[in-house]
Subunit: 338 residues, 2 copies
DNA sequence: TTGGGCTGATCAAACGGTTTCGGAATTTTG
DNA sequence: CAAAATTCCGAAACCGTTTGATCAGCCCAA
């Protein structure tokens, strides 16, 4: 006897001497099945290890329980770290997660056909993937609600959940000011990125309130090596600078390494701060003070939005901002205790 | 007119004035469809943005194109870093990736029902997830070939692909010896882990060849903080030690931070080496010499094994070892140039 | 004229579930 | 005891594909 694969509901029905409708209802907990037969069916199903075929059911019910998660090949560990978080959260919400990867130079458009073929319930797209209007429009045509993380669309369909980057940058900026820093350089990311833009806006707003402007803008492009190199070059000339406000933790770590290699002590000679809350930033080599993105809440909201019950009407796009939290460690001089 | 969702093959067939069988065959490139109608159908399909329903086809063909990737909630960034790699590789191989997450205290068994419901083509399970014999047996009963990464099973069904941990440890050990190190401590991981065991075996074999044994075993449990703490405590007493052989990069980084915080210079006073090839280990803060796991090849092989064409017969389990590569950086004293 | 071999398309039956509708058996009610 | 209500279950249609069987033409040989 060669048993192969998972048994079907039909098999269960034969074993139990009932129809497959009954099996289906029994497993669904439909009250129109007597407790006795329900028990019996469940018992048999458990014995033979029956699991209903998810594809068959989503075929007939016309609804899918799988969410797409679209990532890019990227260096930033922020999203890498939270992929298991989102897997857990979506499992808790009763969804499966399917991964789609677009190359660094590619566009969301590259994976839309695959997403459509699997009739996704919804999709979550992280900031590092390029999502053209055309791609978003196609998703909409295919009936796949998409949620952008730390990015905005203006097509009226796609929702977004973002860390309140501007507000976070403000609190960090104020913290630096209170710590007595006045000559602040910024280590910025890729231009055109919302994350970069809003964090800079927040910083500059606070600086302006104090009649300041940044003393330099170093372009780190969100890349570790680039950030290291550019701040090392900058520091080599011993510029008159108090603090470096890095737009991401990854770049902040690069900057700290640059300072270390230049023999500049952090935070005694120079404060360095970041933004994101990646794991290595907490290591003793860095002890980076930063503002942490509330990844858990962000992803939870994103999942909710991506899996919104289909109300027939076109659900309007939502944009939700969630505040980050200042995490004080040792890489920046602290305000005098008051 | 409210169009919702992706059009079906039936719609295409009506638009083209043919039967849906013809549509199916046309898209499949079946030669029994004339070039003229094939062109016409393809054109219409493209116009309305048709994508075949993957669930419907896998329902009838009885084969699925989705691979499971089972991860654990874990600290080790090694697998985090390569999740996008595996997403890319499986896309190249024509498969989709579905993510399953088991909690740190959980077992593969927790996700087997979900895996079965989606009738996975195969599954790849990384080392940090606990996979009980029962779980593996259930996978087999459900007809899901599973491939373990850096772990072994002995049930005759599940394949494994591993870095050749023992060999890697040997080359690292020889490198240390050639560098003049004689008093070597080991910073070990969780006991019972194959990775830990084989790397220790490799190290000890080479030490024995030179009439040596390790001067201490520090238990880091594969956890950064633990590794930091235990080596810091160890170093505090200024033991007579040449080098620390850490069983993972993550722990090596922790050890380097401990040395730094103890004012011990690396590599002048102490060499520290790791194993894995995680990103932060390459940062200037560490410049860790290590042996890199050949993640690309390992994952590629794993995908091949997990997606092996179903030959009807039970495909026998395979175990493949792939050699790692010594990556020399600055955290260990180098052998004198010969 | 009959028949055989192609070509190009259609029919219908699966695949494994869910759901609507209806029906038999049993119980409650008049 | 008949009628009505209730309980429990089965038959069949359907979801969107694939595929084996079939079939209508057409060309050509016998």
């Amino acid at each position: 006897m060669k048993r192969q694969g998972t048994p079907s509901a039909t098999l269960i029905s034969e074993l139990a001497g009932v129809s497959k409708s009954t099996v289906s209802r029994a497993l669904a907990g439909n009250p129109s099945i007597s407790e006795a037969t329900r028990k019996r069916i469940l018992k048999i199903a458990a014995e033979v290890g029956y699991e209903p075929n998810a594809m068959a059911s989503s075929l007939v019910t016309m609804k899918s329980g799988v969410l797409g998660f679209v990532i890019a090949s990227m260096e930033n560990p922020f999203y890498q770290e939270h992929i298991e978080r989102i897997a857990r959260l979506s499992a808790e919400a009763g969804h499966q997660l399917m991964l789609f990867q677009v190359s660094a130079t590619g566009d969301l458009l590259d994976v839309v056909p695959a997403m459509a073929r699997y009739r996704l319930r919804g999709a979550i797209v992280i900031a590092s993937v390029n999502s053209s209007d055309k791609a978003l429009e196609q998703c909409h045509r295919h009936g796949i609600p998409v949620v952008l993380i730390n990015r905005l669309a203006n097509d009226g369909h796609t929702s977004s959940v973002l860390c309140n980057n501007e507000a976070g940058a403000r609190v960090m900026a104020r913290y630096l000011i209170e710590g007595g820093h006045r000559r602040i350089a910024v280590l910025s990311g890729r231009e055109g990125s919302i994350v970069n833009r809003d964090r800079l806006i927040g910083l500059r707003a606070v600086l302006a309130e104090h009649g300041l402007t940044e003393v330099a803008e170093l372009k780190g492009e969100f890349i570790f090596d680039k950030a290291y190199q550019v701040t090392r070059d900058y520091l080599k000339a011993r510029p008159d600078v108090d603090a470096i406000f890095a737009v991401s933790d990854l770049m902040a770590c690069g900057a700290m390494d640059a300072a270390r290699d230049e023999g500049i002590r952090v935070p005694q000679d120079l404060s360095i701060v970041g933004f994101d809350g990646i794991r290595p930033a907490s290591w003793p080599a860095y002890r980076l003070t930063t503002v942490e993105q509330p990844a858990e809440e962000m992803l939870k909201r994103a999942i909710e939005l991506a899996a919104r019950p289909d109300t027939g009407d076109v659900p309007s796009a939502e944009v939700v901002y969630i505040n980050g939290r200042l995490k004080i460690r040792a890489s920046a001089r602290k305000p005098a205790a008051s």
